[in-house]
Symmetry: C2
């Protein structure tokens, strides 16, 4: 964990910890991290961020400079500062593997630890899992829309932050995107890199054909951007270049970045084919999202791959999830919360996915330990602050797992349109009874 | 700049640089960074991110490890790698001060440098300015809606990334937000910290009143969260605590976090006042945005301050800006781009703000160097890779400047509703002629 990163938290995590220490609230708490509901435009989410969660829990330290600053604020006791200085996360984590399709109310992960520890990590964990699940869930829709055609992630310039660009590129790749323009994501995660050329390159030359000549001298198999001045003329310039170069012509693709991409792709394909350039592919980009990708393909646009940037990178149609990290058990007693619209199911849980003929039919949400049919989705990934060996897959494995899991979802759940009815998450009898019991207890409290 | 940060860029920045070096495209280029259009829900943007831009340009280095990895990909020549190894940004930057209200087509900043340098920095600069301008612009609306009541920034858990949480907290403070829950933002930028308590704190106690007793033993002037089980009962628990504590009772405020905040705040105020607790304030939170804040106050909700999190932190109604960094001049010649919907005004520019009776009436967008009436907004901030001394204000100064500049905007532009007509940005005659000339040149190109 980087220096100062431990201070990237909400003030109340520290003040509540202060109070827990003062009161001796040392018993074990269980927190569930889950989405209270899904955005209207999401039939499922794709769990992501677990690898970073485990790294954070393993590495979380308050450095002496952090502690000195906290002390200088005059807000905190020596007791808290000494506790923070010695802080090492010692708890357990159960989690869904990255790439698992997940639904409302289902825990993506649960943390069990002495209450001050489990409380203190809330902001770090929510920030990591929220962002990456958000990004993977959006990317999964784009991949679905592209129907097997490669998708390139181009969002870095408008994703919210540079480090976030890295995390989003990883989440998108996990969800099935094929490549990224983000160079560090290539280095760090081994994601294939993709890139073409910008309008500025074309503009810096005195004419477009000259720009294409120059670029292909350096990168003969480039993808050429043809819409700087006029797309159809840009295509003609590529065809002229092909005639000039003859056998040497190796341009891989044209990129269409503006205008009516259906009409332009049809025209481009026709012009290229007439010129004998059947093997030159078409890349579309320019403000695309999954709806536009699906619409272009439905109308027969002969586009071979898609560059998708901002809309995927910021999850434009649903830029946040109603995701929370909530106390569900303390000192062996299940805990609830009854706030309007934000009620909570008590206790540690497990999710069983029930499949028929290889298709997921429903999930059963039960108390941890209750017997149930189906495939349990939450697995032990950390015990006593240490990773469970082999519990977390490599990115490549997680990507393959995500692909298989998505293919097991019912067609209407994978679709871009809202599934009617939504995928069924059934609350087990024991859990339902536990909740009814807690509601009654609190309703009769003075 | 952190290690590896130079690789947080798009692949094509490196491949285009490779091509520029191969061709000897060393002449000076000017790039403009601007919003092509504003989101429907924004009458103005608030420029932000300049401090980070200058730090990035001063500190941008390709480390040996970065270079070794780039070499290992086999994509790049020794010439490029040697150039990257020696890279130091040597160009000039003119920019609007942070906190300036800015409109579509107006450059927030312009970079003048040898073309490969000016090109290479695109992704870093866009990412920084886009995010921070997005966040400051949204926060400015929330501040406007709160009509002088304090706003606390609570977004870290769902802002897109932890480092992004830091940048958003700064941008929100710049735009007039009063405090943040983000501890590191307090340390790094001196922003006042704010925080209350979470539901988990209440839940971990066997009853709510006991939780309030315990917390106020540690923090007597706390803000107590009253909606964990039932808001009205929570308020009664605070009143009981006041009776128990008598003179010692120093609770500052109650926080309402769910339910009908208008009805609950009216009820809370009445109950508190009846109990003689007029000085206990009301804080509202829970999925708030500027529309809800404005609506609550318009209907007379007696709320004293607002905690605003996710909706502000991800700019939920407009999570990206159509912001671009475009070549407008190369080798002394103005450059355009005519792509459908993305046309570009040629040449380096200046923006003059024209005011009457202290109110901004229109902006005039002209070629740099053209004479015009009004207050020029772009200032030299970097020359030959060095900051112009005194050119960049402190955060406190920038915040005060932002406040004054916002107050100079016409009332309908500051309002939350779309201004009809929008604020007027007039294109100067010289610039209009230059654009017409370029369109003609390109229209007649073969």
């Amino acid at each position: 964990m980087e220096s100062e990163a431990a201070l990237l938290t909400d003030l109340y995590q520290l003040t509540m910890t202060e109070a827990y220490l003062a009161e001796g609230q040392w018993d074990e708490g269980v927190f569930s991290l889950f989405a209270r509901r899904l955005p209207r435009q999401r039939n499922y989410l794709v769990a992501a961020g677990l690898e970073d969660v485990l790294q954070t829990l393993e590495g979380l330290r308050f450095e002496s400079e952090d502690l000195a600053w906290l002390e200088s604020t005059g807000r905190f006791s020596d007791r808290l500062l000494r506790w923070l200085e010695r802080f090492r996360f010692s708890g357990d984590v159960d989690a869904m593997p990255e790439g698992t399709p997940v639904f409302a109310q289902e825990p993506l992960l649960e943390v069990r630890a002495p209450l001050p520890e489990a409380q203190l990590v809330e902001t770090y964990l929510l920030n990591l899992v929220h962002l990456q699940t958000l990004a993977a869930s959006k990317a999964s829709r784009v991949v679905e829309a592209a129907r097997g055609r490669p998708v390139m992630e181009f969002g870095l310039r408008r994703i919210h932050g540079a480090d976030t660009g890295l995390k989003v590129a990883r989440a998108a790749y996990l969800a099935g995107v094929d490549s990224t323009s983000n160079v560090l994501a290539g280095k760090r995660y081994g994601i294939p890199l993709a890139g073409t050329m910008a309008h500025s390159y074309v503009q810096s030359h005195d004419d477009e054909l000259e720009a294409f000549r120059a670029f292909t001298r350096v990168y003969p198999d480039a993808t050429l951007l043809v819409d700087t001045y006029d797309t159809l003329r840009g295509i003609q310039h590529v065809i002229r270049l092909a005639r000039e170069r003859g056998e040497e012509f190796r341009v891989r693709a044209l990129r269409l970045d503006s205008g009516d991409l259906l009409a332009l792709s049809l025209a481009a394909r026709e012009l290229l084919d007439e010129a004998g350039l059947q093997r030159v592919r078409l890349v579309a980009s320019g403000g695309l999202d999954e709806e536009q990708v699906a619409g272009l393909l439905a109308r027969g646009a002969p586009i071979d791959s898609f560059g998708v940037g901002t809309a995927m990178g910021v999850s434009a149609d649903a830029p946040s999830l109603d995701m929370a990290y909530k106390l569900v058990e303390y000192a062996g007693r299940a805990r609830v919360k009854l706030s309007a619209g934000k009620a909570l199911l008590p206790g540690a849980k497990q999710v069983y996915r029930q499949e028929e003929d290889g298709v997921a039919r429903r999930d059963l949400l039960v108390r941890r330990g209750d017997a149930a049919q189906g495939r349990p989705l939450l697995r032990p990934v950390m015990r006593a602050g240490q990773r469970v060996p082999g519990a977390v897959a490599s990115l490549a494995e997680a990507r393959e797992y995500a692909r298989r899991e998505r293919e097991r979802l019912p067609r209407e759940v994978r679709a871009l349109q809202p599934a009617r009815p939504p995928y069924s998450v059934v609350i087990g009898d024991g859990l339902a009874r536990a909740r009814a019991h807690e509601v009654e207890v609190w309703a009769t409290e003075p």
